[in-house]
Amino acid sequence: MTLLHAETAVEVRRLFTVWVAVIWLLHLALEPLSDLAGLPPALFRPVAPVGWLPHRFEVLFLEPVVLHGLRFVGVVSLLVAAIRERAPVALVVASIVLTIAQSIVRSLGHVNHAELPALYAVYALAFVGVLERVRGRSSALDALPLVVTAAALTTTYSLTAIFRLAHGGLAVYTSGSMVEWSVAAAFQPDEWRSQMGLLTAHDVVRWPLLLSFPLVTLFELLAPYCLISGTFRLLFVPIVIAFHVATLLFMNIFFWENVALMPFLTAWPHRFAPRAVTDGRHPIVFFDGVCGLCNRFVDYMMARDRLALFRFATLQSDIAVERLGTAALAEDSIALVDGTDVYRRSDAVLRAVSRLGGVFAAAQLLLAVPVRVRDAVYDFVAARRYRVFGRSETCRLPSPEERARFLS
């Protein structure tokens, strides 16, 4: 047995940071906050921590300028956290702003749970960010945000099941509660609502629902064991996703943030960790050595190529002529040689970037765009590369640190 995420590459942690930031950016897009300005102040009773303030201060959070400000700071801090390699301050600010926002949207007395595991994920990222600032980096800390989020997410399922067993007992399963919840949800006064709850009138729908409820409870109860059992994870994740889809269709409740975090209850994100070269056959990035843009691209790649996966050479070098032919410089500004495969233009850029792993693996998705479209964009930029980004008289000379990774 091994602990899920115990070996987490920094690139996968970065992917997780971006993933969580995107969940919250989507959330802030769906929940404008500014609509709260229309609430009656007399009924506005935010939960903690805003609720710890005297009421005269609480109601300041109904001011449009404060609501717009919260949303703006939330969006900016999440964007910074998503874009920068390390952004502990932005993550701490995001934690504070999102906690306040979640506190004030629960100001009418109903404390729902939908966003909380995603909020805990931000706390975990901020906590580790601050810890690293104080104590320095370590691979164990790279794993911590993913481990804590997976543990927190699964613990919330377990606590729910335990509450149901301890307080609801058998009656929750044997009474008509499931039918009542489903039918009442079908009549919920919402603009969009699923009417599938009405199907519980039919035995063929009602009985599978009733029978699956104790099964789901069992999986919820044991959810934290996803952390140490791959077999259990394999069963848990699809069952719980099906459960969330069923609650959307039959109860009109959807914890989409939980579903969005489900990939991190599996080992799937680790597929995006970069793989070190073990056979000595490093992919080679050939670039135009006098082009300002190409040199910046190489700097960008080298800074993020933690495992020194790539070797670099200029298109003006002898090795470029040997590997790509004499016309290489006329045809390319970037080329990639990976084993026996040669990639040019947009193929070269996207494949090279995607091999950096983590969030950069998403570049592979762009390979689905027709090559003519991609290459048209590439050619447009390449044709203007000297004019916009400058051109040097001589080829780039590698610094002493870079020399081992340069072939010419």
Binding site: P40, G168, Q188
Partner: protein
């Protein structure tokens, strides 16, 4: 808090926390990280057992579909508005306040509807919230809502399965002009 709940939480979480993979990983963490993680999970469990969502948020009680539904059976509310031209339009509180979806406005309205029309406090509460909803709806309307109507319907699950129609009762009706300035 119930003793059974505490025992079950311990029975599920303790073996995991003490399992070799978790202990091995915890051993690689600096002490401050271990303290932070322990504090976080203690708050998560404390929030569950304390039953004080309002004060312990974001550490709250996880209790979805945890207790049998009320013996009154299937209950739902409908909110509608009469416009200046006399048209009847549905009012959707969660659409008027998108930040208050997931029951964050509908659920607080429900208890108020239960005690109407007898309770003055419930009337004030429901009137204030529905006024806010109607005003939000009116922002985009040429033909504004002038009167708000709230109806509550109920039926037992057995009756519903037998095809008995819902019993609906108008619980509240007020003109927006009555609530001007609130």
């Amino acid at each position: 808090m119930s003793a059974l709940e505490g025992v079950l939480i311990g029975a599920v979480l303790a073996p995991l926390a003490l399992s070799p993979p978790v202990r091995q990983y915890a051993g690689t963490l600096p002490r401050s990280a271990r303290v932070g993680v322990l504090l976080f999970f203690s708050l998560l469990v404390a929030g569950q057992l304390a039953r004080m969502d309002q004060r312990t948020f974001p550490f709250v009680v996880w209790s979805m579909y945890g207790v049998e539904k009320s013996p009154r059976g299937i209950l739902y509310e409908q909110y509608s508005g009469l416009t200046a031209s006399g048209a009847l339009v549905p009012l959707h509180p969660s659409s008027a306040f998108p930040s208050l979806d997931q029951g964050r406005i509908l659920n607080p309205l429900r208890p108020a509807m239960r005690w109407l029309p007898q309770s003055q406090e419930a009337r004030v509460h429901a009137t204030m919230l529905l006024t806010a909803v109607a005003r939000a709806v009116n922002r985009g309307r040429m033909d504004p809502v002038v009167t708000v109507i709230a109806t509550r319907c109920e039926l037992s699950a057995d009756e519903w399965l037998r095809g008995v129609p819902f019993r609906c009762e108008e619980k509240l009706r007020f003109d927006l002009s009555e609530t001007a300035g609130r």
